[in-house]
Symmetry: C2
Subunit: 202 residues, 2 copies
């Protein structure tokens, strides 16, 4: 398929792209509190009625931005070692969370305000953590981890300190943190922290 | 000092208690979005003018609630082992975060909205983590950890998965999570994850 042919509905898809780009731009400039349907429609050059009909409200716009973020081919880093993969992943997270304008931070903040955005944010976390399970699968194949390793728990242990610092404690970005959190999780994994009980046990 | 004599300024302190109790009750019932100065004054039985003069706005009320939370003699659990202390701490965190009405969750959500509440929330985290450093100090004294252990990093590794699940991922409360996160951090600590370089290194 030639790269210029895009999947379904040219005009509808184009309007969606224009509107979601406008949401990101408005969110970056004004944050959630300054985000309005009318400003998004004006910036996107799309009729207000279209935006209201299709997205309903600001929560609907944010939910669609978050859902659109899963429509990509992002794959977790593949560096050849568990600790290397986790460190590279954490560097990506830290870079995204501290980027200017602070889109990702604004989307997380918005998920405390809008139920639609909250559900979409959870779908996006789920999508990202599911993709990252490849990191653990590869480490098992290399013999770095036992076959019955709880991938999700390992990934959350590796990444949670980043989110805790950046989203909740709001400490200044620490360039050592991504690597330290990765090393901590890798050491814990080597010590059996995420090993599941043998099959048959309950 | 007899228990009925309370520290400074009887009437001023009593008004503060009444107002902060009213903030917690209103927050529990209506969340941040439903919190108003007038409703707090009415519930507290205090003149509106007094509330406005002393606290300024809703952010000021929330900041004072958070600051008042540090005025206690809370100490971290002392169970006799590092893993036991961290698990007991995580159980306290999970219980507080999932309590009804959801006061702690509402305060964290409010910290995304109000700069005053944000700063007060950060002071409270700082106070709590500083007190928890005793857990690490005791483990060092027992010989469970090397003397040069980065207490803060260990404590954040132990508690961050709780906050990540409960505040950000919003997964249902998992009774195994407090103990698992504690065990992970204790195993990582035993493997040297939080050891600081010897004095003299930079």
């Amino acid at each position: 398929m030639p790269p210029t042919r895009r999947r379904p509905g040219g005009r509808t898809a184009r309007i969606r792209t224009q509107v979601l780009d406008a949401v990101l731009a408005e969110l970056g400039e004004h944050g959630y509190d300054g985000l309005t349907m009318d400003a998004v429609a004006a910036r996107a050059g799309v009729h207000r009625a279209t935006v209201y009909r299709r997205w309903g409200d600001v929560g609907g716009l944010l939910a669609d931005v978050l859902d659109a973020a899963s429509d990509d081919d992002w794959q977790p880093p593949d560096t050849g070692s568990l600790e290397g993969d986790l460190a590279a992943l954490n560097h990506e997270i830290q870079a995204a969370m501290t980027a200017q304008p602070p889109i990702m931070a604004a989307l997380i903040a918005a998920s405390f305000r809008s139920e639609k955005a909250d559900h979409a944010q959870r779908r996006l976390w789920e999508d990202r953590y599911a993709r990252c399970e490849n990191i653990v699968g590869r480490a098992v194949q290399r013999g770095e981890l036992p076959p019955r390793t709880d991938a999700r728990r390992l990934l959350i242990a590796a990444t949670a300190p980043l989110y805790h610092h950046l989203v909740l404690l709001r400490t200044p970005s620490d360039p050592d943190l991504p690597g330290q959190a990765a090393r901590t999780a890798a050491l814990a994994a080597s010590a059996g922290a995420f090993a599941e009980p043998p099959a048959g046990d309950t």
